[in-house]
């Protein structure tokens, strides 16, 4: 296990460095470098500009700049936001909190809907129930999340007034008791996490269904049946653990799609997460913030899939050899 952890962590760190390097490459290629913007300002003389270039090390070779950039990034120094005049890292930390809430809500919805349906479908492949579940999952695969979002928002939010129209909490939430504040947060969280969760439901149902079909056809399940175990014991003790363990690893695969979907959902619901910050930054051409959110989103994906792999290996020893 220790060797597996070490190998997996090293791979994740290498990938993180590569991802950061790719982002650095984008910084280099980015148009509208701050220095060039300064050159447009008539009050800034050429001497002052040269001094700035020297001060920020822009006359150094790329490799030196890369090393400086990496160390700064590791320290969480991602520069200043053009539009907000605040450190990018501060903005990102705020967004990370919002994203974490949304992601947690979406995952709750996703698995509480998809796991039972996937299991039921996998138990009786080809049955009427299975076909109904297939239609359900195909519908949510083909229906764009943003359409579901605006429809629910329009009906349940605007027309019926059952749910707030956006944001993470009411404007006066700061004055509420902590219990009320939590309820308020969950009230705001319901629609966005429902939409985001349902958008990936089809993938998980399909994964669980085909996994269960494979496990039920395997020798150890046949052996368990041959020993005369009851069907429920075969299912709960033998088949389901083997089906559900890979689902943990599958979560790592879902992560990028979920984060991408989250950006759209955050924009529709004005949810102050990472995606919304990235979106606002692109609209305002705030390059440091765009790069910061992109880098952080990739880091979240890498850490998430590392965590999923480790958890999977912890539960299922066979995964350690992979």
């Amino acid at each position: 296990m220790a060797r597996f952890i070490l190998r997996r962590v090293v791979a994740a760190v290498v990938l993180l460095v590569l991802v950061a390097t790719a982002t650095f490459g984008l910084v280099q290629a980015a148009p509208g470098q701050p220095i060039e913007l300064l050159a447009l300002d008539p009050r800034v003389g050429p001497e002052f500009r040269a001094e700035l270039i020297r001060q920020y090390g822009l006359d150094q070779p790329v490799t030196v700049q890369w090393a400086r950039w990496m160390t700064a990034t590791l320290r969480g120094e991602l520069g200043l936001s053009f539009s907000q005049k605040r450190p990018v890292s501060e903005l990102l930390m705020e967004g990370l909190g919002g994203s974490a809430w949304l992601m947690a809500g979406a995952l709750f919805v996703l698995y509480i809907v998809a796991l039972p349906l996937g299991i039921v479908a996998g138990l009786r492949p080809g049955s009427r129930v299975d076909r109904a579940i297939l239609v359900f999952s195909q519908f949510f695969w083909a229906l764009p999340g943003f359409v579901l979002a605006v429809v629910l928002l329009e009906i349940l939010g605007v027309r019926l007034g059952w749910f707030p129209l956006g944001l993470m909490q009411d404007l006066d939430a700061e004055r509420m008791s902590s219990m009320d504040r939590l309820l308020n947060r969950l009230h705001h969280l319901f629609l966005p996490s429902l939409v985001l969760g349902l958008s990936s439901v089809g993938l998980v149902i399909g994964f669980v269904r085909s996994g269960l079909i494979g496990v039920l056809a395997s020798d150890h399940v046949r052996a368990a049946r041959a020993r005369g175990l009851s069907e429920s014991r075969v299912l709960f003790r033998h088949a389901l653990p083997n089906t559900l363990a890979p689902v943990i690893q599958h979560f790592g695969v879902l992560m990028p799609a979920l984060l991408s979907g989250a950006l759209i959902i955050e924009v529709v619901f004005s949810w102050p997460g990472l995606g919304r910050i990235g979106y606002a930054a692109i609209v305002e051409r705030d390059i440091p913030v765009v790069l910061g959110t992109t880098l952080l989103s990739a880091a979240v994906v890498i850490m998430g899939s590392l965590l999923a792999d480790l958890l999977h290996a912890w539960i299922d020893p066979r995964a350690r050899d992979a």
């Binding site: 290498v14 990938l15 590569l18 991802v19 790719a22 984008l26 290629a29 980015a30 148009p31 509208g32 492949p125 195909q138 519908f139 695969w141 083909a142 229906l143 764009p144 999340g145 943003f146 359409v147 605006v150 429809v151 329009e154 009906i155 027309r159 079909i213 992560m255 990028p256 799609a257 984060l259 991408s260 950006l263 759209i264 924009v267 529709v268 995606g275 990235g278 979106y279 692109i282 609209v283 051409r285 390059i287 765009v290 790069l291 959110t293 992109t294 989103s297 990739a298 994906v301 890498i302």
Partner: protein, 321 residues
């Protein structure tokens, strides 16, 4: 009896024809709007009387009355009187039917839907072609180029896959500093080749050690001949399945980007920004967002059905019970 797979191909073919022939099929121009105060948010199958003026404008009205050398347009809000000599000479007064209704600017939803099909399918097709031309060589090279080449190429794939696609796209869009169809195609293409390269690599690695490949190599075949003549053709089925699924994903991605305003810019129609247009009156004027949504769902379902048919057709030995 029409089977599901045939239906999927038929639907896709219909959309391709609709998109390709949009300039011929669209009854009206998708971007210009005339007289929106009268013609906006009309439900499907509405009919309006159109009056064409010789300065190029077109006025709509519910009721028209002749009065000497004037025509009088009688509407609830106002009455307008137009002298006859301002009308065009032939067919100045016509009855216009809006099959799928109009949006809040009075633009024809059917025409926008057809032009939107053109955008969606063009992007789906070109992006998939880019993904194939980038992903296939990279996957092949990784499988045949030895451990170093393989390691480098697969790390590049890992890096691309680590970024959630939409963040990568907004970053690239910011770098290229522009919007529009071409940028969108390049950016989407640059972020959707990885799955294909992975499938190609896995298939070719499986194939390269098979007896017929060893035999061909023994006869003196070089790696390029081998790849083009033997390996890639045999690896093609799962790659094409991946491409079909990828095309569905790209169509959805374009719609999502246009919906939040990062894709096709209004007034140019795309299914995504049409849905955004219909947001404000979602319940009162459901047709504005409803038809593009339907088109989107049908396209995606058709593409995934085609992927499924390909899977059954091309790999019969992997059929599930």
């Amino acid at each position: 009896m029409l089977e599901r797979k045939h239906l999927a191909w038929l639907v896709l073919a219909a959309f391709v024809v609709a998109g390709a022939c949009a300039p011929l099929l669209a009854p009206r121009d998708p971007t210009t709007y005339s007289d929106p105060s009268i013609s906006r948010n009309r439900p499907p199958l509405s009919q309006l009387v159109a009056v064409d003026l010789d300065d190029g404008r077109r006025l709509y009205t519910d009721q028209l009355r002749h009065d000497g050398d004037h025509v009088i347009l009688e509407d609830v809000e106002r009455q307008r009187s137009i002298p006859l000599d301002q009308l065009v000479e032939h067919d100045a007064i016509t009855t216009q039917t809006f099959l799928l209704g109009t949006d809040r600017f009075g633009r024809d939803v059917l025409s926008r839907l057809l032009w939107g099909a053109r955008v969606s399918l063009l992007i789906g097709l070109l992006v998939t072609l880019i993904a194939l031309t980038v992903g296939l060589p990279i996957g092949t090279l990784a499988a045949l180029g030895g451990p170093v080449v393989d390691g480098v190429l697969m790390r590049i794939v890992d890096v691309f896959l680590a970024f959630p696609w939409i963040f990568l796209i907004i970053t690239l869009a910011a770098m290229i500093d522009g919007s529009g169809l071409a940028v969108l195609i390049v950016v989407l293409g640059g972020t959707s080749w990885m799955a294909i390269s992975r499938v190609a690599r896995a298939m070719i690695r499986e194939l390269r050690d098979q007896a017929f490949v060893t035999a061909t190599r023994g006869l003196g075949a070089g790696p390029i001949y081998l790849a083009v003549q033997h390996l890639i053709p045999h690896a093609l089925p799962p790659i094409l399945i991946q491409a079909a699924l990828g095309a569905a994903r790209v169509v959805l991605a374009e719609a999502a980007l246009s919906f939040i305003g990062l894709g096709i810019q209004p007034p140019e129609p795309s299914w995504g920004n049409m849905i955004n247009d219909g947001r404000t009156g979602l319940l009162s004027a459901w047709w504005v967002a409803g038809f593009p949504t339907l088109a989107l769902i049908v396209t995606v379902l058709a593409l995934s059905e085609i992927a499924e048919t390909l899977r059954h057709r091309l790999t019969p030995y992997r059929l599930e019970p």
